[in-house]
Symmetry: C2
Subunit: 261 residues, 2 copies
């Protein structure tokens, strides 16, 4: 056997047996999912996998290399399933049914992943990375998901003739947001709903999400833009106490290099 003494921790987490590299990957997914990229420590991953830290660097080069490997292990499957679902949807002539199939092709592979995996860690990794501003500079999401995103939007547009491209893109963003939020959930949904909504219940999550998102994009055509629209409620801050909208400088540089790592 390759890793003789191997992992005390890995035994507890059920990742024994596998090769060191695979064991590191599995534990990395869990640690990144629980703490995010910056909050995770390579020593944490190594200890969980029952290997010395140096072995992690040996296999994956760097922390970012390990992070990337976690994505490359999961994403292709999701993308393939989405594309397959889109192909099926496009072969549907009835546009109403096609629309629902497109939405399902978008959300199903993700929720299926969350529900059927060892644990929901990768969903959290993905959600974390999606909401991380430095995600754009790493480019994982862009490189891996942008193509299928465009394909989804095209499919949505085909099922909704007459709707503007802007409408479709907005709708896509809302769909993505809802999905990512559920994927990354760490218990808030279940706590708030008193156990009524469980993100790990694949059937229920898919059923509700597909229905909601399909209805949103189908019946959610926004009213035309108005140049001067009366504000619907007063925005004047009531108490000066917590208000801090100095609004000193409007044009502010968007990005700031994160600290050296």
């Amino acid at each position: 056997m390759k890793a003789a003494k191997s992992a005390r921790a890995a035994v507890e987490t059920g990742t024994a047996g596998a090769s060191s590299r695979e064991r590191i990957l599995q534990e990395a997914e869990r640690v990144f999912g629980a703490n995010g990229f910056d909050g995770a420590a390579m020593r944490q991953v190594a200890e969980a996998a029952g290997v010395p830290v140096a072995l992690v660097s040996y296999h994956f080069g760097s922390k970012e290399g390990l992070y990337r490997a976690v994505f490359e292990r999961r994403v292709p499957t999701v993308v393939e399933q989405r594309l397959a679902g889109l192909a099926i949807a496009m072969s549907e002539a009835d546009l109403d049914r096609r629309l629902e199939l497109v939405v399902k092709a978008l959300v199903f592979p993700m929720l299926h992943l969350r529900a059927h995996d060892r644990d929901p860690s990768f969903g959290r990794v993905l959600a974390h990375e999606t909401m991380d501003p430095s995600s754009e500079q790493r480019g994982f999401i862009r490189d891996m998901f942008d193509p299928v995103a465009r394909a989804v939007v095209e499919a949505l547009a085909s099922a909704l003739p007459g709707r503007t491209e802007e409408d479709i893109w907005w709708a896509y963003e809302f769909m993505l947001g809802a999905m990512v939020y559920v994927m990354g959930d760490a218990g808030r949904i279940e706590r708030l709903s008193g156990g009524l909504c469980r993100p790990d219940d694949e059937e229920g999550a898919v059923r509700h999400m597909v229905a909601f998102l399909t209805a949103g994009v189908r019946h959610g055509a926004p009213p035309p833009a108005t140049k001067s629209r009366r504000p619907l409620k007063s925005n004047k801050p009531k108490g000066g106490e917590t208000d801090a909208t100095g609004d000193v400088s409007k044009g502010r540089r968007q990005t700031e290099g994160r600290r050296a790592r």
Copy 2:
């Protein structure tokens, strides 16, 4: 003047003039927004505010104290505006119009904040914290937003008699996800849509989001649950290459303490 030499960086970022404490808070919001809690360094905040690191600890006690202060400066305004919007909505007898007002009461204060602030940093802070699994253990989101969340769901239910509580909660989660995603966006939406969708365009974002989410909850009643539902697409992994669903141990402990900080 209090801070005599003061900030070279603060001048660039337009936060001069203000008191040291306020300047630290403003820069903290920006740094946390750009890097997340773990990715941000107190030295980074201090340098940007033009003060020594020790002064940050003096004013806010710890890094988490500073983080909390960033939330406490912004959240109450949003919560108050939401509650005010909900009150207005509940006074509307027409349930269709009430529903739209409730949705608007939920999303408007947030998008308004993003669009009218110095920069969209707080939205990113919020999105990051929302998607951070350790968020639950910090409890900011829970303590600050749970009450108003329940109020929103009650208002939604009042406008949708006959719908199950489960439906409403799911819909609420999808709304929240869509909103958080747009709030935390770091440019992906605009890039993907080719500039068609700009999260900073408050009017457009609110108009599209309210329309989509209102339609989603109104017309998105899911079909009844079926015990045995034929799968709509094959889930068998095609290539074993990237597949790694060992599925060794199902019951896995959900949480793992993050490393000491």
